[in-house]
C-alpha cells in the first residue's frame, strides 16, 4: 500500500515506525530538521507543505492509497486532505484537536464529506471519552461500550475477600446477560472456563448489558459500600481535561473539581462549566491538595501534558489516599513504568490513535472495536456471512483464546451461553487474544 503521511511529529513518527515495514511511505513536513529522525526508517521524506498541491503531486498523491494528515494544526490537516482528495488520493485520514469547526449543530459527517475526509481522528476527545467511561463505572479500572451503549465491557481488579473468589465460575451464578470473558493473571490473558477459579489480584473482563453488568459490580466488591455521588478531581484543564470536565459536568452523580495552573485558562473553564469547582493552582502543590481535601476524591484524573508532572501529581494523590487514579501518558515508553508504580490506569491519546490506524490498515474487513492491555487482547466485531450454517455455540470448534461475548441480532442483544445459536447475518462481538484474531477471522471466513 502506498501511504502519504503529512506531518512528521510524534504521531507521524509513530505511524511510520509501525507501518514502514509492510508499506511504502512518504512523509511530508515543512520542517526539514525532522528529516534525520526518519533517516533511521525506510521511508521517503519530502520537505514542503502538505497543503501545497505541488508538493503532494511530487509525493505522487494520485497513486496513493491513503493520506494521513497529522500535523499539529487542524486547518492544515483538513486542507491537506481536501487537496489530496481532489488530486486523486484514494482515502484520507485527518487528525484534529478541536471541534469548533463543527459549529453548534454541525455533524462530523458533513464536515468529512465537505473536505473529502474518510475518517476523522480526534485523539484528545477519544481519550476524554475513554476516561469518562472509566469514571462512570464505579470500581472499574477500565471500561468500553459497544453497539451504541447496549453492551459494556468493564475491567476490574479483584481484591482479597471478593465474593467472586469463593467458588469456581460455574457455581457463581452470574446474572444472565453478563459474562466474564477473560482473566488476566500476571501478564497472560486467558479465557476462563466453568471450572476456572478466580483469585485475588486477577484482572477480570466482564461483558454484558448495562443492567446485568451493574448487578455484577456489587458482587465484585463484596460488602464494601459505594457512595451515591463520586467526587472526581481532574488535574490539568487542557484539551483532555476540559473535554472530560465538560462531559462529567453534565453527568449526574458526579461532583467535580478541576485544578488548573493558568489563571486565564481557569477562568475560561469556570465560565464554561456549570457545576464544577475550578481551582487555580498547581496539581503538584501539596498544600493546595490538602487544603481542598483532594485525598477524599473517589477518582483522581491527572491529564497534564507532561508525563513527569502527571506522575508526581498521581503519586501525591495516592499518598493522600485517593482510591482510583487515572493518568495520561504521552510517551508510550512510560506506560509500563506508570502501572508498575501503582497507577491504576495509564492512558495514551496518541498511542490509542496510532494503534487504531495501524489496525485499520492491517486488520482487513472485520471491524476492530478496541485494543486492550496494550494490544494483548482485542475486541472485534464480525458479521456472520450469509452462507454460515446455524449452529449452537457449544458445537463450534472455535479457535482457542477467543470467546463470543455478545450476539447482535436485529435490535436484540444476546449474551450467549453454550446452547445459544449463531445464525447468518448475526453480528458477533468477539474477545480474542492478539494471536487469535487471525484464526477467528479465518473461521468465519471474513478475512
Amino acid at each position: 500500500m502506498r501511504i502519504i503521511i503529512v506531518g512528521g511529529g510524534e504521531i507521524g513518527f509513530e505511524l511510520s515506525r509501525e507501518l514502514s515495514r509492510d508499506h511504502s511511505l512518504t512523509v511530508v513536513d515543512t520542517d526539514a530538521e525532522v528529516r534525520q529522525r526518519f533517516d533511521a526508517l525506510d521511508v521517503e521524506f519530502l520537505g514542503g507543505s502538505g497543503t501545497s498541491a505541488d508538493v503532494l503531486q511530487r509525493a505522487d498523491v494520485a497513486g496513493a492509497d491513503l493520506l494521513i494528515a497529522c500535523t499539529g494544526l487542524d486547518e492544515v490537516n483538513m486542507v491537506s486532505c481536501a487537496i489530496a482528495k481532489r488530486l486523486g488520493a484514494a482515502r484520507t485520514i485527518c487528525f484534529v484537536s478541536r471541534d469548533d469547526f463543527l459549529g453548534r449543530e454541525g455533524s462530523v459527517d458533513s464536515v468529512r464529506e465537505h473536505f473529502g475526509i474518510e475518517r476523522i481522528i480526534w485523539p484528545e476527545a477519544q481519550l476524554a471519552e475513554e476516561i469518562e467511561r472509566i469514571v462512570a463505572a464505579p470500581g472499574a479500572i477500565d471500561a468500553e461500550v459497544f453497539a451504541g451503549g447496549r453492551i459494556r465491557l468493564l475491567e476490574f481488579r479483584l481484591e482479597a475477600g471478593s465474593p467472586l473468589t469463593t467458588a469456581p465460575l460455574s457455581a457463581l451464578h452470574l446474572p444472565r446477560g453478563a459474562l466474564i470473558v477473560a482473566v488476566k493473571r500476571r501478564d497472560t490473558i486467558e479465557i476462563p472456563r466453568g471450572d476456572t477459579r478466580l483469585s485475588p489480584g486477577d484482572k477480570i473482563f466482564v461483558m454484558g448489558t448495562p443492567d446485568a453488568v451493574g448487578e455484577v459490580v456489587p458482587r465484585i466488591w463484596g460488602d464494601e459500600h459505594r457512595p451515591a455521588t463520586q467526587l472526581v478531581t481532574i488535574i490539568g484543564g487542557g484539551d483532555v481535561g476540559f473535554r472530560l470536565a465538560q462531559r462529567l459536568d453534565a453527568a449526574s452523580g458526579v461532583e467535580l473539581r478541576v485544578i488548573e495552573r493558568d489563571q486565564r485558562r481557569g477562568e475560561m473553564l469556570a465560565a464554561t462549566l456549570r457545576r464544577a469547582l475550578v481551582l487555580n493552582g498547581d496539581g503538584t502543590d501539596l498544600e493546595l491538595l490538602e487544603a481542598e481535601e483532594i485525598g477524599r476524591s473517589d477518582v483522581l484524573v491527572s491529564v497534564i501534558d507532561n508525563d513527569e508532572r502527571n506522575l508526581f501529581a498521581s503519586l501525591l494523590g495516592r499518598q493522600l489516599g485517593v482510591r482510583r487514579i487515572i493518568t495520561r501518558v504521552s510517551r508510550p515508553a512510560n506506560m509500563r513504568l506508570f502501572e508498575r508504580v501503582g497507577i491504576d490506569v495509564a492512558l495514551s491519546a496518541r498511542g490509542a490513535a496510532v494503534g487504531s490506524i495501524v489496525h485499520q490498515i492491517q486488520g482487513g474487513r472485520a471491524h476492530l472495536l478496541a485494543l486492550l492491555e496494550e494490544g494483548q487482547a482485542t475486541i472485534v466485531e464480525i458479521a456472520v456471512p450469509p452462507a454460515f450454517r446455524p449452529r449452537a455455540l457449544m458445537e463450534m470448534k472455535a479457535p482457542p483464546q477467543s470467546i463470543v461475548g455478545a450476539i447482535l441480532r436485529g435490535t436484540d442483544v444476546i449474551i450467549p451461553r453454550g446452547p445459544d445459536q449463531i445464525r447468518p447475518q448475526d453480528r458477533l462481538i468477539v474477545f480474542a487474544a492478539a494471536n487469535s484474531v487471525g484464526p477467528v477471522r479465518d473461521y468465519f471466513g471474513t478475512a
Partner: protein, 487 residues
C-alpha cells in the same frame, strides 16, 4: 463639555415634544373644555418657540457626542420636559411645586399625585397626565432616538444614558432601529389593552387613560379610587395581564412576537420575575385570609397588588392601606426589587438583584475555597467584573439616596413608615406608599421641601441614579464651555 451641543440637542427634543400637546388639546375641545384646550395649545406653541430658540445655538456635529454631554443632555432634558409638561397643571390651579411634582411623577411613570379632589380637573388634563406617563414609560429619549434622524451615532449614548441597565440587549445593530422596534411593541400592546378594556365594559375615555398608564408602569388613574373604582374582576384581570407584560423585557416581547417562543423561558431574569410574583402572591393569599374571604378574590388582589408594586405601576385594586401588617410587609419588600431590565418598570431591576444575590453566595463559597475560580454567571455567561462592580455601586447609591431622602422627608414632619415608603415609592417610580401616602391618599399635604426632594428622587430613580449623580462631580462643570473648539 460643550454647552452649545447640549442646549441645541435639548432644544430639538423640546421642539419635538411640543407636538404632544395636540392630543390633550383635541380631547379637551371634544369634551367642551375650551379654556383647557387653549392652555394646551399655548403651552405647545410656547414649548416649540423655546425649543426653537435653543436650537439656534451654534451646533457642531452631534455624531461625536462625548460621554458627559450625553449624560447632561439626558438628565437635563428630563427636567426641562417636565417643566414644559407642568404648565397645564399650573393653569388648572396647582401651585408651582405641586405642578412640578405632578408633572415629574407623570414623566417618570411614578404615579404619585398631589390631586386632592379629582372633580376639580378636566378630562383633557387627565388624558395629558396619562399621556406623559406613556411617553416616559418606554423613555422619551428612546422615542427621540427613534424618530429624530439627526441624532446619528450620538443616539446610542443617549439611549444607554437613559436606560443604563447591566445588560444591553440589542435587537439590531442600529440603535435607532432598536428604539423603533421597542416603541412599536410598546404602542401595539397599549392598543391591545385599550381594545380589551373597552370590550370588558370600561368607558372609552377611562380605557384610554388606563392603557396609557398600565403599559408605562405608571399608575395614574382618572378615577379617585384607582382601579378599585371599577368593581369588575374582569377589568382587573385584564390589567393584571398587561402590568405583567409591562414589567417584562420588551426586547423579549419583540423576539417572542417574531416567533422565538423560547425567548422568555430561556431568560434568567424573566424566570426570577415569575418566581418573585408567585412567591409574593402566595404569601398574600395566605396573609389576607382575615381581610378577603373568597379564595379567588384573594388570588386576584394578591396578584394585582404584587404586580402593581413589583412593576412599579402603583394602581390599587383595593385599599391595601387597610391590610394587616404581614401583607403590607410583603408589598414593602417588593418596592425594593422593581421590574425587568428593558421594561417600562422602574426600581433597581430584577436582574441587578439576581446578580447581587449570586455575588453574595459566591463570596460565601470563596471563603471555603480561597483558590477557587468563581465567576458570577447570568444566562450561562460570565458577568465581567466591571459590570458587577457597576451593579453593586448602583445599589449602594440607590440605598444612599433612599436613606438621605427618607431622613429629610421624615425630619420635615412625617411618621417613619410614611417617610420610608414615600421615599422608596418616588425613588422607585412606584407611586403610592403606606400610611399617609397610601393608595387612597395623596402627597398634597407634604411639606413643600419634601415635595421638591421627592420630585428629585423620582428624577434620580428614573435615570438610575448614576446618570444624575455623575453630573454632580465638579470637573463636569469646570470643563463646561460655551465656545466650541475648532474642528
Amino acid at each position: 463639555m460643550r454647552l452649545p451641543v447640549v442646549i441645541h440637542t435639548i432644544g430639538a427634543f423640546l421642539r419635538f415634544f411640543s407636538i404632544a400637546f395636540v392630543v390633550p388639546m383635541l380631547v379637551a375641545e371634544y369634551y367642551g373644555e375650551r379654556r383647557d384646550a387653549l392652555v394646551f395649545l399655548g403651552t405647545g406653541i410656547g414649548s416649540a418657540v423655546v425649543g426653537y430658540l435653543m436650537t439656534r445655538t451654534r451646533r457642531s456635529r452631534t455624531e461625536d457626542l462625548k460621554r458627559v454631554e450625553g449624560l447632561a443632555i439626558v438628565a437635563t432634558s428630563w427636567i426641562l420636559l417636565s417643566w414644559s409638561a407642568a404648565v397645564p397643571y399650573l393653569f388648572a390651579g396647582m401651585g408651582p411645586i405641586d405642578a412640578m411634582f405632578e408633572s415629574m411623577s407623570g414623566l417618570t411613570t411614578t404615579g404619585a399625585t398631589v390631586m386632592r379632589d379629582f372633580g376639580d380637573y378636566g378630562r383633557g388634563l387627565f388624558l395629558w397626565r396619562s399621556l406623559t406617563q406613556w411617553f416616559g414609560g418606554m423613555g422619551v429619549i428612546a422615542l427621540f432616538v427613534a424618530v429624530l434622524p439627526r441624532l446619528g451615532i450620538g443616539g446610542r449614548q443617549l439611549f444607554f444614558a437613559e436606560a443604563p441597565g447591566p445588560t444591553d440587549e440589542k435587537l439590531t445593530p442600529h440603535i435607532r432601529q432598536t428604539a423603533k422596534l421597542l416603541w412599536s411593541v410598546y404602542a401595539g400592546l397599549t392598543a391591545a389593552q385599550f381594545v380589551a378594556l373597552t370590550a370588558a365594559g370600561m368607558p372609552v375615555f377611562d380605557s384610554a387613560c388606563h392603557s396609557l398608564t398600565t403599559l408605562a408602569a405608571g399608575g395614574f388613574s382618572p378615577h379617585p379610587l384607582s382601579i378599585a373604582g371599577y368593581d369588575q374582576p374582569l377589568v382587573q384581570w385584564i390589567i393584571i395581564f398587561f402590568m405583567f407584560a409591562a414589567g417584562a423585557n420588551f426586547a423579549l416581547h419583540y423576539r417572542t412576537l417574531r416567533g422565538e417562543l423560547r425567548a422568555f423561558p430561556k431568560d434568567e431574569e424573566f424566570r426570577a420575575y415569575l418566581g418573585i410574583i408567585a412567591l409574593s402572591t402566595l404569601l398574600l393569599v395566605i396573609f389576607l385570609r382575615p381581610e378577603v374571604p373568597g379564595l379567588l378574590d384573594r388570588l386576584r388582589h394578591g396578584l394585582f397588588q404584587t404586580l402593581t408594586i413589583l412593576t412599579t405601576t402603583g394602581y390599587a385594586s383595593t385599599d391595601f392601606q387597610l391590610w394587616n401588617d404581614q401583607a403590607r410587609m410583603v408589598l414593602f419588600a417588593l418596592m425594593f426589587i422593581g421590574g425587568c431590565a428593558g421594561s417600562a418598570a422602574g426600581g433597581p431591576k430584577i436582574v441587578r438583584q439576581v446578580l447581587i444575590a449570586r455575588y453574595t453566595l459566591i463570596e460565601l463559597r470563596r471563603t471555603l475555597h480561597p483558590r477557587g475560580v468563581l465567576p458570577v454567571k447570568l444566562g450561562g455567561r460570565v458577568v465581567p467584573d466591571e459590570v458587577m462592580r457597576g451593579v453593586l455601586v448602583f445599589f449602594l447609591f440607590y440605598l444612599l439616596v433612599f436613606a438621605v431622602c427618607t431622613m429629610i422627608v421624615s425630619a420635615l414632619g412625617l411618621d417613619l413608615i410614611t417617610a420610608i415608603t414615600a421615599s422608596i415609592a418616588c425613588l422607585g417610580n412606584i407611586g403610592p406608599g403606606l400610611n399617609a401616602v397610601g393608595p387612597m391618599a395623596n402627597f398634597a399635604d407634604l411639606h413643600p421641601v419634601s415635595k421638591i426632594v421627592l420630585t428629585a428622587a423620582m428624577w434620580i430613580g428614573r435615570l438610575e441614579v448614576l446618570t444624575v449623580l455623575a453630573l454632580l462631580r465638579p470637573e463636569v462643570w469646570r470643563l463646561a464651555t460655551f465656545t466650541q473648539p475648532r474642528e
